[in-house]
Amino acid sequence: MLKITADIFSGRPNPEWIIEEAQAGPLLKDLSLSGAPAAMESGFQGLGNRGLIVETLSDHHQKDFNLPDRFRLAGGGGAHEGLAAELAEKLLATMTQERASHPMIVETQSKEAGAAPLDANLRKFILEGLPGRQGSVLTVEPRAAEELKLEEHAASFLCGFEAGLFNPGFWNDPAHIGKNNCYNYASNHRTNTFAQPGRASGHMYHAIDCADVTNGAVSDGASLTCAPPNQAPRWFMALVIAPGWDYHWYRKSREGFWGHKPGGTAARNTDNSGVIIHDPRFANRGPYTIFCRFMFAQRKMVVR
């Protein structure tokens, strides 16, 4: 027997339902062969759709299928997210109000408790919002000037770009964390070369200043102005400088904050004060006191 939870809400009870033994076996077999189950703490952990939580309620399942008794599926943190999304769709097909009323469900799924009805609309809503599903990268369309946030207003950009879900796990595993730096992260190219602006295109920076480092990135294919839709994915980046010493980059995430990777350390979305970064210009950047500019990575960009 399995308990499935759609981990999507913050205030309302999450949808939960039971899959009986007869159906559970084949599903667990598919899950164990797929490599899609992921750790509970993996993937997207912020506000919104965090994927499905699968919990085995019988001890023999763990031994028969060599799966953890509780794991996350299609939350954006697994090794095979495309497959995870397919399996999540199979599990969602079993979501019914009747199964939510099973005695094994502790948290009430009633309307009075604020629970959402487990119907086709909810199923569609959950499926389309799964972080592991293709399309978790959001295209931010150009907007009218009055709708722009402060950062974009000041940057004078009226550009469309793409913003993916924050995925630190992709950067922070031991095999990759020390081999990729801020430039790798901001341009979203995990090359394992500790990439340097301009090195891939033969015009690596010389001086550690805004102009030289910017020119290196532009030589690699970054754009200082709006990049066209056919250059998607277009990642929104920001460059800062510790004058004479070093540079640092940030990339905007779909959740609205900015992520960064200080050298060989962990990718994160907090600044030197531990505060989530909503605008790199106003974040605590330690010795990186000079804010250079915003710019865009684009499809043709190559880094090394």
């Binding site: 340097q196 602006p197 480092v213 510790a242 010493w245 640092h248 050298g263 350390t265 010795p287």
Partner: protein, 139 residues
């Protein structure tokens, strides 16, 4: 800034020389500065570490700020490839012969300051000053 590995004198026959590399974990975009200790400095470092007291395994460490100086990494390129992470008054010794990790107290960050000073020619005056100021608690 160029990365310079200091040359070291030849070792008397029959005596294994300890080669200890120091990395200043300070940059984000550029590779960190790296240098190798002289024979005398390597011996002094190991002697100092040996004299340090152990910390409880569960004692929390101060977390370095992500941007800026985060500490030193010393790698003993002798056969054990033992590594030391030195920051904020704590030295974490990784890859002990039995696989354990040991945490040592570095009062006044004295070992850290000693190691920072050995990297003067690689770090340059300004970066050296920045690291020493941090170690003295002035940043």
């Amino acid at each position: 800034m160029a990365t310079i590995i200091l040359a070291t004198p030849a070792q008397p026959a029959g005596q294994m020389r300890r080669r200890i590399q120091i990395e200043a974990d300070v940059f984000s975009g550029r590779p960190n500065p790296v240098w190798e200790l002289s024979e005398d400095d390597a011996a002094a470092f190991l002697s100092r570490v040996e004299a340090l007291g152990r910390l409880p395994a569960d004692m929390p460490s101060a977390t370095p700020e992500p941007l800026g100086y985060r500490g030193l990494i010393a790698t003993d390129r002798h056969e054990t490839m033992r590594r030391y992470r030195i920051a904020r008054g704590v030295i974490v010794v990784e890859r002990e012969p039995n696989g354990a990790t040991v945490r040592l107290s570095d009062p006044g960050r004295a070992v850290e300051i000693f190691l920072i000073r050995t990297g003067r020619s690689v770090l340059g005056d300004e970066l050296l000053s920045y690291l020493l100021s941090d170690a003295a608690g002035r940043n």
